[in-house]
């Protein structure tokens, strides 16, 4: 079994668009069962990194292994076995606009398990929707009728449809109000504990980092300059990291998380 091996392993990754090099010699390891936060300034290629890992962006060079399998230049039908084992929440939800929320959740299930009887399928979609904290009347709604927070939850319900081992979240709390964002953080933490997920979390949200991440990877200068817990990162002497965590917002988030611990 692959239990002890890292769930994602990126080595020597290089990505570029024309003359602009986004990643150069980037290494990253994600361990099983952890929530890894990925941070970095705008344009440091956080989303590009995620897209290279999930195979939407072909890197110029480097190796990407997910769940112990090499991801680069894979045949489509081989890749399917891996796709079944992960769930992805895109930044804007990426719900299929012509299907209702519940139908959206059913899409991956139908794709991989066409023999499930419709009543069971509908029930599975229902509890996934309830699990992500959506109200029951959200099921028959179309994506265009949802608010931002509901869209993210619906996207999460679809990402969780196949009970994945690995969950990719691209800025799940951006555009949410602080209360909804905190609720979303808590939801992710709970789901991660209950379903034993590994989570790859791209975020700008300092509160999320403090609240739910086991480790944080910092992207800057075209590579991952540091990975570790927040105290470990704070001990480092990199200007961007210091400014990020010790700036006014970083301090505020740190204080809130301390108060939480005390309470």
């Amino acid at each position: 079994m692959t239990e002890s091996k890292p769930i994602i392993e990126v080595r020597g990754l290089r990505n570029s668009f024309g003359d602009q090099v986004v990643h150069e010699d980037l290494d990253l390891t994600v361990n099983r069962g952890e929530i890894l936060g990925v941070v970095g300034g705008s344009g440091t290629g956080k989303s590009v990194l995620m897209r290279s890992i999930i195979g939407l962006q072909k890197p110029d060079a480097g190796e990407v292994e997910v769940l112990g399998e090499n991801m680069i230049d894979r045949a489509e039908d081989e890749a399917k076995n891996i796709r079944r084992r992960w769930g992805i929440l895109f930044q804007n939800g990426a719900l299929f606009s012509t299907l209702t929320v519940a139908e959206n959740v059913e899409v991956p299930i139908r794709e991989y398990f066409p023999h499930l009887v419709p009543p069971l399928l509908d029930e599975i979609a229902s509890y996934k929707i309830a699990m992500t904290g959506l109200p029951a009347d959200a099921g028959p709604k179309l994506p265009s009728e949802l608010s931002g927070g509901m869209t993210k939850r619906a996207g999460l319900a679809r990402a969780l449809a196949l009970d994945p081992e690995l969950l990719f979240l691209d800025e799940p709390t951006s555009g949410l109000d602080p209360i909804a964002a905190a609720g979303f953080d808590e939801l992710i933490r709970t789901l991660q504990e209950r379903l034993e997920l590994t989570v790859f979390l791209i975020t700008h949200d300092l509160d999320s980092l403090y609240a739910i991440c086991d480790r944080v990877a910092v992207l800057a200068d075209r590579k991952v300059i540091a990975v570790g817990t927040i105290p470990e990162l704070l001990a480092l002497d990199h200007p961007w990291i210091q400014e990020y965590f010790n700036g006014p917002r970083g301090r505020a988030a740190a204080d809130t998380s301390k108060e939480h611990v005390k309470a």
């Binding site: 519940a102 499930l116 069971l120 599975i124 028959p140 709604k141 009970d163 209950r194 379903l195």
Partner: protein
């Protein structure tokens, strides 16, 4: 994995189901089928389960809920998973409620009629606001956006020359060829020139140009303005104090109105050229004779008719395109829908107006 030895026993006091190994989504269909095949009262023994996910837990839970099955032997993790999914047992509808067929057809018809009505009123309103904006521009000509208009001239007019020229040239050939085939039967091939000349100058040149411009520029107007609406560019304009009608709609309208007659004239020339080459090569009528003959058979009023219609059609196309673009709201899907509607609406209106013009000009004696 050799976990297929799951046991299911029917005995005197009911059945026992004992799944072995994985109880996950991978085996969900089989598991459900096996459970359905067992008699009540049912006991489920989880002692041999090694791995369970929420789908597996859900199947256990729903059997417990619907059939009162007894669940035993589960480890702590498995039992808690079943309890967890039970928390999320909320009835969620998957699809919106469907009304019965007949009522639905009536509803849709009603909605369609109401929709057509609002669209028409909306179009009139939009027409009105462009008039108001034009009046404002005439009073303050310094707000006239010359650059925007010239840029539209290029996009709507100059860049359409190639495709419209080629299309008209081919239409000239087709009209000539089809006409010659029919007229030959009466030994009247020479009248092919009358046919080509009058039909292209009076009708086809303008009509085909209008259809091409509607497809090329009308759709682009709707898509551009629609996208700007989605990205809130238009709201941004309004808050800065720039009128979107002045900045976006009027330049496009002026471009379409001024470019249409020029394009139509170009289309007429190219059709005549195509027809001329055909009669020269196929019927042996030399170019000079062709031109002389054209002069004799085409009354100048035909050209006026063609060129009077052109700006009106251009206006209709720009109006429908910009109006539909402004109607975009909510999703990107709407941009596509509105663009289609813009093209259909403008071609439809152009053809209706063409019919009106045909009757009008004939009745004032421009035959």
């Amino acid at each position: 994995m050799p976990d297929d030895k799951r046991t299911a026993e029917n005995d005197a006091e009911g059945a026992t189901y004992r799944p072995v190994g994985a109880l996950t989504i991978t085996r969900a269909a089989t598991t459900q089928r096996e459970i359905d095949g067992l008699a009540d009262p049912l006991t489920i023994d989880l002692s041999k389960v090694e791995r369970m996910d929420t789908v597996g837990a859900w199947i256990i839970y729903r059997t417990e809920r619907d059939r009162g099955a007894k669940v035993e032997g589960g480890s702590e993790i498995e039992t808690s998973l079943v309890h967890q999914v039970a928390e999320y047992d909320v009835p969620v509808r998957v699809r919106p409620e469907q009304r019965p067929g007949f009522v639905r057809v009536l509803t849709e018809l009603g909605e369609w009629v109401a929709d057509a009505g609002t669209t028409f009123v909306g179009l009139l309103g939009f027409f009105g606001s462009t008039l108001v904006a034009s009046a404002g521009l005439i009073r303050r000509p310094r707000k006239f956006r010359v650059n925007a208009i010239v840029q539209r001239f290029d996009v709507v007019g100059v860049r359409a020359l190639g495709i419209i020229g080629l299309m008209s040239f081919l239409i000239g050939i087709v009209v000539g060829q089809q006409g010659a085939v029919q007229l030959e039967q009466f030994g009247a091939e020479v009248y092919t020139i009358n046919l080509i000349g009058r039909i292209t100058v009076r009708e086809l040149g303008v009509l085909m140009t209008a259809i091409m411009v509607a497809g090329r520029s009308g759709s682009a107007f709707a898509a551009q303005i629609g996208t700007m609406k989605l990205t809130e560019e238009i709201d941004a304009m309004r808050t800065i104090g720039v009128s979107p009608i002045e900045a976006l709609v009027i330049p496009r309208m002026i471009a379409a109105v001024l470019m249409m007659p020029l394009l139509a004239f170009w289309a007429i020339l190219m059709s005549l050229l195509g027809g001329g080459i055909f009669v020269w090569l196929d019927l042996g009528i030399p170019p000079l004779t062709y031109i002389q003959r054209l002069q004799e058979v085409i009354p100048i009023t035909d050209l006026w008719i063609g060129l009077i219609k052109a700006p009106v059609f251009g206006f209709i196309i720009a109006l429908a395109g910009c109006f539909q673009g402004m109607l975009v709201e909510g999703t990107s899907e709407q941009v596509g829908e509105r663009t289609t509607t813009a093209v259909v609406q403008s071609i439809f209106l152009v053809i209706i107006l063409d019919a009106v013009f045909a009757i009008f000009f004939t009745s004032i004696g421009w035959k």
